[in-house]
């Protein structure tokens, strides 16, 4: 279990490093899907602190 815990912990560390070096994606972004486009006007965590957590849910 200890080894599994280590494996599970690795992404957080590695992605934190990757994030530190990456450039911000630009918004709005359009994602084309089979059912239609998703036009996302701004980075979803803008101004919300906990990303996708919305009002009334602890944000």
């Amino acid at each position: 279990m200890f080894a599994r815990s280590l494996i599970l912990a690795i992404p957080v560390i590695a992605l934190a490093l990757a994030g530190a070096a990456s450039a911000e994606d630009s918004f709005p972004v359009t994602i084309t899907t089979a059912l239609g486009d998703a036009v996302i006007p701004a980075k979803p965590d803008t101004g919300r602190g906990l990303g996708l957590v919305g009002p009334g849910c602890g944000a």
Binding site: P11, T33, G36, L50, G54, A59
Partner: protein, 281 residues
Amino acid sequence: MVWGWSAQDVVLDLGIMPVGIPFFRYGGGDDGILPWTAEAIARLGGEAPVVLPDSAEPPIEAIAALQPDVIIAPYSGLTPEEFALLSNIAPVVAYPETPWFATWQQVVDLTGKALGLSAEAEALKQQTQAFMQAEADKYPAIKGTVFANVINRPDGSVAVRMEEDPRVRLLVDLGMKAAPMTPGGLMVSTGISYTLSYETFDQIAADMLVTFFDNQHNADDFFNLSYIKLAPLVQKHALAVIIGEEMTTAVGGAITPASLRWAFTDFIKTVGETAAVAKGQ
């Protein structure tokens, strides 16, 4: 928030707590949360996501109440009507081409793009692929081994997943080969698998089978069926039998980087050792 399979794990891996996640009846236990998802939520900390009501259709009112910024559902079966309804709440990232047809890599790519974290998503993908390859390299017998991914059905038949199925792609990407369609098989409407009667089970043209069962009892019952136990692959014990709802979901259902970290080491060991048996090694 996320809907469908898989995206919740990617959002969490990218360091963001989703506001809402679907209830996983299969493998999610009483609280509907898959074990590796629960670990990721605990590791990230903060306000845990709302687990949506257990339903096949998206609970529109419950989703609207969460006021999400975006609804990420690349591995789902959203209908055009559901997509339209949800789009009134927030932008919806649906599946690229076909319902229930997105590889874990596509889920990572689309989720990263939706969150403005494409570089982090790419890093997650590379890291996961490297992990899987390192584990698979321990079992060289899998290279070129032809397998059939088979699920028992309650109607006297089995479902055999086709090469295009993301759950089959998992092993094809590592050098295994998907078995060709068996004569007499009937394609299902989704186009990702076909059904085969027990009577023709022995006609599957593969070196080995990869099968999934909820528990050992169900596996024993299946392999004791008269048509099944006499099949050459069963006689040869060329069977990678994966037991348990969690394992089945992790590597045979809603595959994600997190589920793979949780289950892939054990899974590829079973597959690799079975491939060696199949090749007489």
